[in-house]
Symmetry: C3
């Protein structure tokens, strides 16, 4: 459980970093950037906890999550001006973060007795809602509604995790399989520009 906690914090940091890098193209001051960095990192788990009634939400009594988001955002804010990172430097960490958030969210919902469809949904919400909130606050059409397969990868992983956890493996193995699947689908989608069908 301690490893998952550490990975969870890493996923929060990755979200905060990528959001800060994206926010630099917008007319935001340091405070605005930090708010958006923290919200990207903890927004998904927060909505999951509210919907499931796990209140107070998880970061109220564990401020480490907020601290990690603030630190990652502040460092990126000041270093990001000088550093010229390669464009796709964060694609793999970002995919791992999505995978981790998805599996954690699904597993929490299952433990609370949610039906499988709802548990998978909670996994997807945990994985993608931070980014949706970031885009809404930045006054943009949320990226995940129009981009390469992203939430779809999260959904596939959540469903796989539920199936493996129920019928076959111990939880740790089910988590690893599901997370690998999410990362692979996500990277394949980026590489071959896989898209879901769209209207027009």
């Amino acid at each position: 459980m301690s490893l998952i906690y550490l990975l969870d914090l890493c996923a929060v940091a990755i979200c905060a970093i990528t959001s800060t890098l994206e926010a630099r193209h917008r007319d935001l001051d340091l405070f605005g950037v930090l708010v958006i960095a923290v919200i990207s990192g903890i927004g998904g788990g927060t909505l999951r906890d509210i919907l499931l009634g796990r209140l107070p939400v998880y970061w109220i009594h564990d401020p480490v999550y907020v601290v990690v988001g603030l630190l990652a955002g502040t460092l990126t804010f000041f270093l990001g001006r000088k550093l010229a990172l390669p464009k796709n430097f964060f694609l793999i960490p970002d995919a791992i973060g999505l995978a981790l958030f998805t599996v954690i969210g699904t597993s929490i919902a299952l433990k609370l007795g949610a039906p499988w469809l709802i548990a998978a949904l909670m996994g997807v919400i945990t994985g993608v809602f931070g980014g949706v909130l970031r885009d809404i606050l930045c006054n943009q059409l949320p990226l995940i509604f129009r981009t390469d397969i992203y939430a779809t990868a999260s959904l596939a992983g959540a469903l796989l995790f539920i199936a493996l956890d129920a019928y076959a493996l111990n939880q740790a193995a089910a988590m690893l399989c599901a997370m690998s699947t999410i990362v692979v689908i996500r990277l394949a989608a980026i590489h071959w520009h896989l898209q879901l069908p769209r209207l027009k």
Copy 2:
């Protein structure tokens, strides 16, 4: 109660269908359309449950709501390209959905002991907030803030329901009266382009 449950599901389906039809003018993929379809259908009741502290929210342990939203959205997504429905095909179902959501939301809040003004507000939130969320996610100024009388019809019906329920009728009759009022006001507003006063 079983009839109300069925009607409730119908209202979710109607919301999902109209949202999918509207989303087709936007640059969304299938996943984005389905998310918006489901959120339109269950968003109002979800906010109501959170504000009232009825957690987990109502669809966590009854996935039928989400399933109905997904099915209605998917069918509309694929059939909607071929079908050329008359422009106002959904006006009456939509008005009935608004009426139903309003009365259900008001009645739930009353049962929890909320004061009448707050109960009416919860009815309006249940009725219109799904559409507000849809518009925010689509990065639009919410329609109900600028269109023909919509939330106003919902509010009038909620207040009528509270009065009838308190002073006169049995609940089923009060529900029917209130719902008819909402549908009539809504259709009258559309037909005669009734508008609330506005600044400038």
Copy 3:
């Protein structure tokens, strides 16, 4: 406590008035304006209550908050057309409202046992989130992310309140000191156009 309650209601009224004055430049009808007025006034405290699990949220069983927001919004809507108020008429009341919301929010979170960083965050959320919601509903990039020091003043006051409350003063004195600090920082920031650093 009764004085704080009265001041709290005043802060709700100020939020509703300033939001109505801002909304007049948008294509909103009376209903839209009132919704935005009420949400600006009670949105911050509502999010705080949800995150902390204080449900139902505070205005469910005390409709006075909603009534005050509605009255202030309606009066401003109809008088606002005739009255030509000086442009910065509301700057001082607005700063007092921010100060009051911040201190109340922080104090509630402390009482529930939240760590100091989280308590300060709850103060800031209570102080600024109503305005963020207003801007999102109006489809604008939230003002506080790009304007003169606003949330920063709230944060400084929240932290000062926590320190004074813990180490030195009785709560009433700590509240007054913290609130004065917020008002002074806010007015100084407006007067000298103080800004946080920004990217680019």
